[in-house]
């Protein structure tokens, strides 16, 4: 009997260990494969030129720029919106209010909606409804905003990442001791002063963590932007909010499925995927740097 328990113990340890090794192995294979096949073409030329010859030559600069611009626009929208939502729910709304329960339910559902549905929603709501509406009212029916554009893609992406920011901010707000709020009130703070002077500085780390997660998600998603603004091929960079743009993830998708010459495209494809990974890491890393700078400035915080 004792032998059997012992054997079961060893087997279990082996199985759980194996699961871990499997994960590490998969990551190593994916990254290794991309690195080995992607490195040779990863030249400065590749990073700074537009695609040529039907994606079989040239670089991917417009896609890098487009992804950057998209993520930054998205961040500008999603952080204020997400933080405001979380602050209302946690600091203003009465506890156990129907409104908050409804918002929370909506956010949970939003988090569960497939990315492609966001893409279709963006097409239907932002472009067809808002964009066309703006064109009718402001531009006498000329086609200005009623078409796929980086603005609509960024808004769609912001909706997709909204739950992440709301949840992270709420966590951060929950972690602030209630006693800090009471001290602020006892010293004559209004609610808004209390939020601005105590809550926001204390929550900024958590808010930025939410931002980082949103950026990670946003810079890799293809489905939300494929109907709302990403272009198949567009050597010009977006300079206005209603311009279309190239996006790395979408570019990968296009090269995989639409290339006239699969073999010629393959090395470019590998390098593009590598760049996409590096860019995601870079964006993440920058956000983490900003967070640690802010934390250092608030070194008396938690």
């Amino acid at each position: 009997m004792a032998d059997r328990t012992k054997a079961a113990g060893i087997a279990l340890k082996a199985l759980t260990g194996l699961a871990c090794i499997l994960i590490i192995g998969m990551v190593a294979i994916i990254l290794g494969n991309i690195l080995i096949n992607g490195m040779p073409r990863l030249t400065l030329d590749f990073l700074t030129r537009a695609p040529e010859g039907g994606m079989t030559a040239g670089g991917i600069f417009p896609a890098i720029f487009g992804t950057f611009a998209l993520v930054i626009l998205m961040t500008i929208v999603v952080i204020p919106l997400g933080v405001a939502t979380a602050i209302y729910m946690h600091e203003y709304a009465p506890r156990r209010s129907k409104m908050v329960q409804l918002v929370r339910l909506a956010i949970q559902n939003l988090a569960g909606v497939p990315a492609i549905v966001f893409g279709l929603f963006g097409l239907g709501f932002f472009i067809e409804f808002i964009g066309r509406g703006m064109d009718r009212v402001l531009y006498g029916g000329d086609l200005v905003y009623g078409q796929p554009a980086i603005l609509w893609a960024a808004l769609t992406m912001a909706l997709l990442t909204l739950p992440t920011v709301v949840v992270a901010t709420e966590e951060a707000l929950r972690a602030i001791p209630q006693s800090y709020r009471e001290v602020a009130y006892s010293l004559g703070a209004t609610r808004w002063q209390m939020i601005r002077r105590i809550v926001l500085p204390q929550a900024v780390g958590g808010i930025l963590t939410g931002g980082i997660l949103a950026i990670s998600r946003g810079s890799g998603e293809v489905a939300p932007v494929m109907f709302t603004g990403a272009a198949y091929f567009l050597p010009d960079l977006p300079t206005r909010l209603n311009n279309q743009f190239m996006e790395l993830g979408y570019h990968v998708y296009v090269m995989t499925t639409q290339s006239p010459d699969v073999e010629a495209t393959k090395p470019i494809l590998y390098s593009t995927v590598l760049v996409l990974l590096l860019l995601t890491f870079l964006l993440n890393f920058t956000a983490i740097l900003i967070r640690s700078q802010i934390r250092k400035r608030l070194r008396y915080g938690r």
């Binding site: 009130y185 004559g188 703070a189 002063q193 002077r197 008396y300």
Partner: protein, 262 residues
């Protein structure tokens, strides 16, 4: 209480804080069952009583912090200098600036010592040039000036527990309040820190009305001019401290101060 004595006192030294029939319910449960008390400038009123007597709730009604908790209902009247603090036109933030509060555990805000002290000032339109003077006065009054005058830019949490509580006292004093509320201010402190706070209170009371909630019967006997005894949300007795401790009128007061319960 002798009615003529009250009116006699009122003429020379009117009550700063007066509560009448103050009742509080939380989710239908009564916490305070009609408390009528007053405190004047120049005196320290201590409130004693076992846990659950409603001492803290009483304080939280005076600075209108009670309403921050959901499900709390306050009725009856509380006046500051004769004006109801629960009337519609009262600016709660302005009111709280006139009522300093020290909590039972030191709560330094996550900032420097100086930022803690100027926090209240910076919320209103006090000119920045006046901050340093108000901070120094408050620190001297809290017997903390000598210990922190060269450490103003250190994080407040670097201070010891006793220093932190005096910092919290000083922080409340920077706004030059009319009333000071202390909720068991020395519950976690060593005897020396406690003594310093009590000494500070004796100096402060010339300009202030002070309400001191304490679990420590000896502290009430030492530090206060009048003592009120609360039990299960009722005011059992309030008398000059010496009288309450030597000749309590109610047997429950006698039992409590002699340590037979609570």
């Amino acid at each position: 209480m002798d009615a003529s004595a009250v009116t006699g006192q009122k003429q020379e030294n009117p009550a700063v804080i007066r509560t009448e029939e103050l009742r509080v319910q939380a989710g239908g449960e009564p916490i305070l069952k009609g408390i009528s008390l007053e405190v004047q400038r120049g005196e320290i009123l201590s409130i004693i009583g076992p846990a659950g007597a409603g001492k803290t709730t009483f304080l939280r009604c005076v600075n209108r912090m009670a309403e921050l908790d959901p499900g709390i209902q306050v009725s009856g009247s509380v006046t500051l200098d004769g004006r109801s603090i629960y009337s519609q036109d009262v600016d709660v933030a302005m009111l709280r600036r006139q009522i300093g509060t020290v909590f039972s555990v030191p709560i330094p805000l996550p900032m420097t010592i100086y930022e803690n002290l100027t926090f209240g000032l910076s919320l209103s339109n006090h000119p920045r040039s006046a901050h340093a003077g108000l901070v120094e006065n408050a620190l001297r009054a809290a017997y903390l000036w000598e210990e922190v005058k060269d450490r103003m830019d250190e994080p407040a949490r670097n201070l010891s527990g006793g220093q932190q509580q005096r910092l919290c006292l000083a922080r409340a004093l920077t706004l030059v309040p009319r009333v000071l509320l202390l909720d068991e201010p020395s519950s976690g402190l060593d005897p020396i820190s406690t003594a310093k706070i009590e000494e500070a209170l004796q100096q402060l009371k010339t300009d202030l009305a002070i309400i001191l909630v304490t679990n420590n019967v000896k502290q009430a006997a030492r530090a206060s001019d009048r003592t009120a005894f609360f039990l299960f949300g009722e005011l059992i007795e309030s008398s000059p401290t010496e009288q309450l401790f030597t000749k309590p009128r109610d047997f429950r007061t006698a039992d409590y101060i002699s340590g037979r319960f609570g």
